[in-house]
Symmetry: C3
Subunit: 262 residues, 3 copies
């Protein structure tokens, strides 16, 4: 793939309109992350308009962090709208193994053919039908334990699958990459995984999904490393992280990206 | 009008209870902006109680950023409650031109006679029935292109109309003012427009709507200028902005307000 | 009771999964506060899954800040699920006296036997059926005016009751404690009361409710004092507060806790 910097450059130049259906915890930070990075977020979720809007937006992300029956209707309408309009869409299966409602929802959304799936190890294991120790939104399994499941899920679903954690793994079923960017403070800030899903959507709006996802992971993780230089805890980290997403240059991303073939 | 400082002084002394029906992205920052400025926000939206609460609050704001049928019922009940109790209310028509659902909702809320309407240029153009290039929540039209539409909208609706952007324009149909306060980082933080709507509500709770709106714009923009002195990106900007809303004095507002007749 | 530090130590070691049903304003900051402190938050509210999840989580908190009929179903299912699984649950009766809907909801949740009730003075007075001057989410009554009502409420409900304000009061009906930790900037940041409810849930997940609640109040207030050392307003306070929750040690809590028998 090209250097990650060109993906960032393309995204910032096109400033894609990204429709985000995300959870109540994440809405504000997802929008701020996308704005800081240079995209244009739009939180449009209700079934009254989510399908119509999916044809206007350049990419769609669906995060099932705080689902309810009404929101499920909006998610499905949006996913169908994106498919009909030929737009990429990203699935974030938050805590998909936790309850019967989530397991059912995960299966329904998977059937709507996401372009990319991004989750932590426990979520990817659960979505792939494997055993997991996860209970809530935090992962209880290491990334490495989910790599085989991710590969299988990519093959059966046709999606690019990203398992994120200390070292991320991304695969399209044939190729695999690992991304070592990131910082241990990141999981101490809520909804950063959800925010990464938004960034994957912004990158995938303008470039092919596998490479765009890998570049998005490197960009997001490197901004985290940058933020950690000055942070003294999760509060100051979050502030510095938004600043870093805004100021990180394509050149710095090319220098700092730590991607390698898996 | 009086110096802007007296409007800020009155607002802080009375600490008005402002009922905010706003979107999921904005709820936290709107409440924090109102608290930092010296008002008392109350997020009460459901139709079970929104109309009853509108008679308790001193002003109401309705932002249609993440609408759904159930929320529309709550918005309409609240607007009717505010009208019945003689309370001012502010309409924020987020992305009103984007979908059929939003166009219909904008028309229904407009019919309920808002005291003030605050939006970006694309939103005011769409609400006034003019052509716009806007698609999502971010404006794609310059403020100047919406001034005539704002004037017409003020005349036909009876509301004070504020078009916000690099230089804001506010009119009651007869008079016009421009406000040059603000900073380019402000649109890189999500929901600052929604937060400004809250501040307009707080100012309009205690003083006449046209002047209160103009003073609110100057106060908000000047706090942004103050925040930009130390900010290194949208994260640190947001933090410094809340501090500035809290510490800005009426005297500093009188000195820094950049209002002029249009 | 033991030194407060041991309660913090236990909480961090066990990192309890805390199910939070909270309001739209508070969701992000409650999750961030719990993560910063060392717990694992899970926002699971809909009736489709809230009862099932209550058996997975180690504690439950229910905050009625932005209620609607659908959410009420989810709250009741969760409270029943927690009771059936023998998990502690904390009630946060936001603005319970403000509208008929809230008064009814407060009574229904009270009947489901919360383990702990945490509110400001106006809320505890209203929930206990006494007169209050409160209108919105901010208290209009001093803590001292609610101590007798808190005692009565503890006796009749069987819950530990905490009235929070400049000096907090906590009682199980027999014993009483006052906690003097905290800082005047705290009520200028939205949803810190809601966040405290989350922390009470995390502490009560692992230790007996009366002592756990008192230790949680001291921890939360002391982190506020720590944050105020560097804050220049409510924006920088919030950032420093999250950092302080993360870095405060059990030893520092033992030294700084200001609890005394009431």
């Amino acid at each position: 793939m090209d250097g990650c910097g060109t993906y960032l450059e393309t995204m910032r130049r096109e400033a894609p309109l990204v429709q985000c259906i995300t959870n109540f915890v994440a809405m504000n930070i997802v929008a701020n992350v996308l704005l800081a990075a240079g995209a244009s977020p739009a939180m449009v979720h209700d079934a009254e308009e989510s399908g119509e809007f999916a044809a206007i937006a350049q990419a769609l992300t669906i995060n099932m962090g705080t689902p309810s029956p009404r929101w499920v209707e909006g998610m499905e309408a949006a996913a169908r709208g994106a498919a009909a309009a030929g737009r990429p869409w990203v699935l974030d299966p938050v805590a998909v193994g936790a309850t019967a409602f989530r397991r059912g929802l995960g299966a329904r959304l998977l059937a709507l053919k996401p372009t990319v799936i991004r989750g932590n190890a426990s979520e990817i294991l659960a979505l792939a039908g494997a055993e997991t120790r996860g209970k809530g939104a935090d992962s209880a399994d290491p990334v490495a334990a989910a790599e085989a499941a991710a590969q299988r899920l990519a093959e059966t679903s046709g999606a690019v699958v990203a398992v994120t954690g200390p070292v991320d793994f991304v695969t399209d079923g044939r190729r695999g990459l690992r991304c070592a960017n990131g910082h241990p403070l990141m999981p101490r800030v809520t909804a950063l995984g959800c925010s990464l899903t938004g960034i994957v959507g912004a990158f995938a709006a303008t470039r092919p999904a596998f490479e765009a996802t890998a570049a998005a992971l490197a960009f997001f993780g490197l901004a985290g490393e940058e933020a950690a230089r000055t942070a003294t805890g999760p509060g100051s980290f979050q502030v510095a992280f938004l600043d870093a997403l805004h100021t990180l240059t394509p050149e710095a991303l090319d220098r700092g990206a730590r991607l390698e073939a898996a």
